[in-house]
């Protein structure tokens, strides 16, 4: 989604009614964020909306420095900025890719299924993959679900985006693109100057 560098777009204030709408939409999409919503989007703070290319809107807290929160492509779901993901890593559906796939993701390639189905990868497993504290969930994820992509041997996520195919299908076919047009570390959105 943000392979190219993004020029600073026009910033405008969000009306408080709209701000409330975004807040409830965020909670609806990410129920685990609810207890932290006052921390993420304090009621008294101004929310800004920044128009980005390709009909993407970024919502950010008008603080100093500016705190990016969610981005949205047209009417697609709100997707957390990776900086928000890093603050609340346990509040999202997540999968993991193996180490070999990291450099491809960081260069803007689509996340390919084998990167997640290989031994270093992780997908939701009913039996929790036999691991204690399995952090990738026990229920299969449907196509379109927003997933945070973690990486083998790394603590912080490197990508976030919508699943193109469900995790069940990924396990069955073990091929094809799983997440396209996501937001990844070092992309245009990550490097966007907000101040």
């Amino acid at each position: 989604m943000f392979k190219k560098e993004i020029p600073p777009g026009t910033k405008s204030k969000v009306k408080s009614s709209v701000q409330r709408g975004i807040r409830s939409k965020a909670i609806e999409t990410y129920p685990l964020l609810e207890p932290y919503m006052d921390e993420i989007m304090p009621k008294k703070e101004q929310l800004d909306m920044i128009k980005l290319p390709d009909r993407v809107t970024l919502y950010a807290l008008s603080a100093s420095p500016v705190v990016p929160l969610f981005w949205q492509h047209m009417d697609d779901p709100l997707i957390p900025h990776l900086r928000l993901v890093h603050r609340f890593p346990d509040c999202f559906h997540r999968i993991r890719i193996d180490r070999g796939a990291i450099r491809f993701v960081l260069s803007g390639a689509a996340l390919m299924t084998p990167g997640a189905t290989s031994p270093g990868g992780r997908l939701p497993e009913a039996d929790g993959n036999g691991e204690e504290d399995y952090r990738y969930g026990t229920e299969e994820l449907a196509p379109g679900t927003v997933v945070v992509v973690e990486a083998e041997g790394k603590e912080n996520a490197c990508m976030v985006g919508q699943l193109k195919v469900g995790t069940k299908e990924m396990k069955a076919t073990k091929k094809g693109a799983a997440v396209e047009a996501g937001h990844y570390l070092g992309d245009g959105l990550w490097n966007l100057h907000l101040d």
């Binding site: 685990l32 609340f88 997540r94 070999g100 960081l106 270093g120 399995y134 790394k154």
Partner: protein
Amino acid sequence: MGDNGVAGAESIPQSKVVVYCGVCSLPPEYCEFGGTTKKCEEWLKKHHPSLHGELYSEAAIEANLSTLSLDAQKRAEKDAQKKAAKAATAEAKEVEKKAAAKVYIKRVERNKRKYVTAVAGLEEHGLELKKVAKDLGKKFATGSSVTKMAAGGEEITVQGDLTEGLLEYIVKTYKGVPEDNIECIDESKKKKAAAAAAAIAATEAGLQGR
């Protein structure tokens, strides 16, 4: 919540604070995939020594390598070399650009015998114009401000004919600006010279036309 299959829902940590690399802006564990790995490591060592110890320990590096096949390791290494080369070229270009960036000190006649001196190009050497303008105003006890140039960009305008003094002060105070890059221009003389050159060119053209 709790029924959407995400484990650990009961013990969510508070907003986590993640360190970001001061060089490449990624979490330091991802620096190895960029082209500035060496600089990143130096930065981390200086600013977050304990995290540096964790990420760059021999054990950590070995663990990283052991998860990749030999083939994949070679490819990753090649890729990293390419990226590093790219970053090095970009940096060299930047240095070159800086080395070549001219600073102009211009004497401009405002009214008869009243001059202002304009300094252009200091921002290319990483100086903040507003701050420098303030410094110059103080140093020479005169009016000094940042003004927009007709051609775009900004310059510093100082009241008075201060060409010599400014040259000396800038060279002495702002070590990043090489003296060879500074050019002093006398606007009124320049105009006369330009007019003379134009006249010569016109004459030559006339001669050739015959």
